[in-house]
């Protein structure tokens, strides 16, 4: 794979990366990791109904992007959304409770994994229809602009999603209206079992940005700092009214697509190569090298997060299931 090498500038940049930023990036990355490991554990205990699209392996993307955002900014999430919402600052209790279908879940158990959403921290929604979030992000960005705010909208989606009709429609609309939106493609090289080579004629999906006059960059999606840097630039552009940007993050799933998928269709060497590029290890190494963290501090952060996650799991498990008749609520908002 040919990554557009940002290495030169990037190395220089990292030298001056604020220590706090590095700590944040490490913390975000491992937080998502811990969350997802817990989800996987609970799933193994048969506590998570339905299916599951784990974010394991892709943590650096959500961590790097959300670290560049303000609380008032928005993100649009996907079927593989746990990392996004945790990154954006979702309450872990209600997030885990949602996955377990509990009344205390952020969606009262109505959404589950594919629709895990916490609106109050700026999650517009998580959608199960691949690529259906892009138009919604366009609208949120239009709204941000029309309301005269400096809000920025990030839209996460996969390599597979970029082949859906909404991709061109939405990139175009964001471009012509010069909207504060950032398209983040999480190119994990597969859509379910379909390798990107079968569905994309070019090396980089980011190549499609140019046709819509959208500045586009390819980054190592397993390196939270690299993702962060690109995001900061894109956010800056957006806030300054310079319009949309596109960031393609090359990354990889640690596990299969869903539920019971063992991902046997992935060539061994490819899988090995990527699984060695562990997002947590990479950002940890950078942070330590830059003197932002010691090994010990890193461990402590991890331990504390583990405690939070354990507590959240406890909360979720203890929480009650919804009443059957709750199924009838929340269809319509009441007319004022």
């Amino acid at each position: 794979m040919r990554l557009r090498s940002l290495n030169q500038e990037w190395k220089m940049w990292t030298m001056s990366a604020k220590k706090k930023t590095l700590v944040d990036l490490y913390t975000q990355t491992i937080k998502i990791r811990k969350f997802e490991e817990k989800v996987w554990e609970l799933f193994g205990q048969n506590l998570v109904p339905g299916t599951l699209h784990l974010y394991l392996g892709q943590e650096a993307v959500a961590a790097g992007v959300t670290a560049a955002l303000k609380k008032t900014d928005w993100i649009q999430s996907t079927h593989r959304g746990h990392g996004h919402v945790i990154g954006k600052g979702a309450d872990m209790n209600s997030a885990l409770a949602e996955l377990l279908g509990k009344k205390t879940g952020s969606c009262k158990g109505k959404g589950g994994s594919m629709h895990i959403t916490q609106f109050d921290v700026g999650v517009l929604g998580a959608t199960g229809v691949v690529a259906s979030g892009l138009p919604i992000a366009v609208g949120a960005a239009l709204s941000a602009k029309m309301r005269g705010t400096d809000e920025v909208v990030v839209c996460f989606f996969g390599d597979g999603a970029s082949n859906n009709g909404t991709f061109g429609e939405s990139l175009n609309m964001a471009a012509i209206w010069n909207l504060p939106v950032i398209w983040v493609i999480e190119n994990n090289l597969y859509a379910m079992g379909t390798p990107i080579q079968l569905t994309c004629p070019s090396q980089n999906i980011a190549d499609r940005g140019a046709g819509y006059c959208t500045p586009s960059v390819v980054v190592d999606g397993n390196n939270a700092l690299e993702v962060y840097e690109a995001s900061v630039e894109a956010v800056k552009r957006a806030r300054e009214g310079k319009g949309p940007s596109l960031i393609e993050c090359k990354t990889y799933r640690m596990r299969g697509h869903s539920r019971f998928d063992q991902a046997k269709y992935r060539p061994k060497e490819e899988a090995e190569h990527w699984l060695n590029k562990d997002a947590v290890e990479i950002i940890k190494k950078i942070a330590i090298e830059q003197g932002a963290l010691t090994e010990k501090e890193a461990e402590n952060i991890a331990k504390n997060l583990q405690k939070d996650v354990d507590k959240a799991a406890e909360f979720a498990i203890k929480s009650e299931l919804p009443e059957p008749e709750d199924a009838l609520d929340d269809v319509f908002a009441e007319v004022a």
Partner: protein, 324 residues
């Protein structure tokens, strides 16, 4: 009261809401100053409110609706126009999977105050892709409200209610009613959803229908008085919520029901109405409920074919005569 066309009344309603509430804006293809909407409903609004609030879009139906949703959940009150109802086929995901379901899926965390305006119906010889009546698809989609005004004053009152509603509202018009005139109140008013209107009282048979077919039904009702048949005509005004009460009371009075819409018959909204009425007023029915619809074919182009396709006065009258 001022006499105006349906088109004018509708525009007046939109305009009033835009004046009241700066969150209200429009987006759609050719709705702006160069065209004013394919049926000229928004003509002049761009000039008055600017191109930002009356926003021409690319030909991207799914993203038009999706953008409206995104704007709605972040604080605005968008009205998306889909130029022809047939083209909502391109936006079914955003309408039916996103707008309709978001509030529910997210456990009430958000609501989606978006209005999708579009137009159905034939009669203009513009063939299969520009003449359909697809409201049944949306009636079968929980989470959507559906307004179907047939008269000018309703168009105005209902669009205002639609814009203020915190939920997604499909606001469906009909090509052949835009020019219909009616006296419209001068003072501000809204019309609540879920209240049917008895357009004509009668004793022998109830006729329920929408848009242009409702107008035809009214003509027929008038004609049939000469034959001594007293027809009650009901205009639902909204399909969701549906005013079952008015309908059932009427049927319990007349014992007979004819349903008239321009939809192709199988699976039309008339099927649902028939199913409800036989279920809830079984003992009052003196005859089978008749459905007058278009045949199960695409809409043909050539005038004699389209005339045959669309239910006409004669067919409505015959259906009534058959059961009284």
């Amino acid at each position: 009261m001022t006499e105006m066309t349906y088109r004018e009344a509708l525009k007046a309603g939109i305009r009033e809401e835009m004046l009241h509430d700066e969150r209200v804006f429009l987006l759609g293809e050719d709705i702006g100053r160069n065209w004013g909407g394919a049926f000229k409903v928004t003509k002049g609004l761009a000039e008055e409110f600017g191109d930002e609030r009356v926003r021409d879009t690319p030909i991207s139906e799914n993203t038009i609706v999706g953008a409206a949703i995104g704007a709605a959940i972040t604080g605005l009150r968008p009205i998306a126009e889909i130029m022809f109802g047939d083209l909502i086929s391109l936006a079914m995901d955003q309408v039916c999977n996103q707008a309709a379901k978001m509030r529910f899926m997210f456990g009430g965390q958000t609501s989606v105050p978006v209005v999708v305006r579009s137009v159905f119906g034939g009669g203009k010889n513009i063939a299969s892709h520009h003449s359909q009546s697809l409201e049944a698809w949306f009636m079968h989609t929980p989470g959507l409200k559906i307004a179907v005004p047939a008269f000018a004053s309703d168009a105005k009152g209902l669009i205002k209610t639609a814009i203020r509603d915190p939920n997604p509202v499909m606001f469906f018009e009909h090509k052949l009613v835009y020019d219909k005139k009616e006296e419209v109140p001068d003072e501000e008013y809204t019309i609540p959803f879920g209240e049917a209107k008895i357009r004509k009282e009668g004793a022998d048979v109830t006729v329920w229908g929408t848009w242009f077919m409702l107008h035809k039904a009214l003509d027929v009702a008038e004609e049939l008085t000469k034959e001594g048949i007293s027809v009650e005509v009901i205009d639902p005004r909204t399909l969701v919520p549906l005013d079952k009460k008015t309908l059932l009371e009427s049927v319990k009075k007349t014992g007979r029901l004819v349903l008239v819409t321009e939809e192709t018959k199988t699976g039309a909204t008339t099927a649902e109405i028939a199913a409800i009425v036989q279920e809830e007023a079984f003992d009052w029915l003196d005859a089978p409920i008749k459905r007058v619809n278009a045949p199960d074919t695409p809409v043909p182009f050539s005038p004699p074919l389209e005339d045959y396709f669309i239910p006409n006065h004669k067919r409505i009258a015959e259906a009534i005569r058959e059961i009284v």
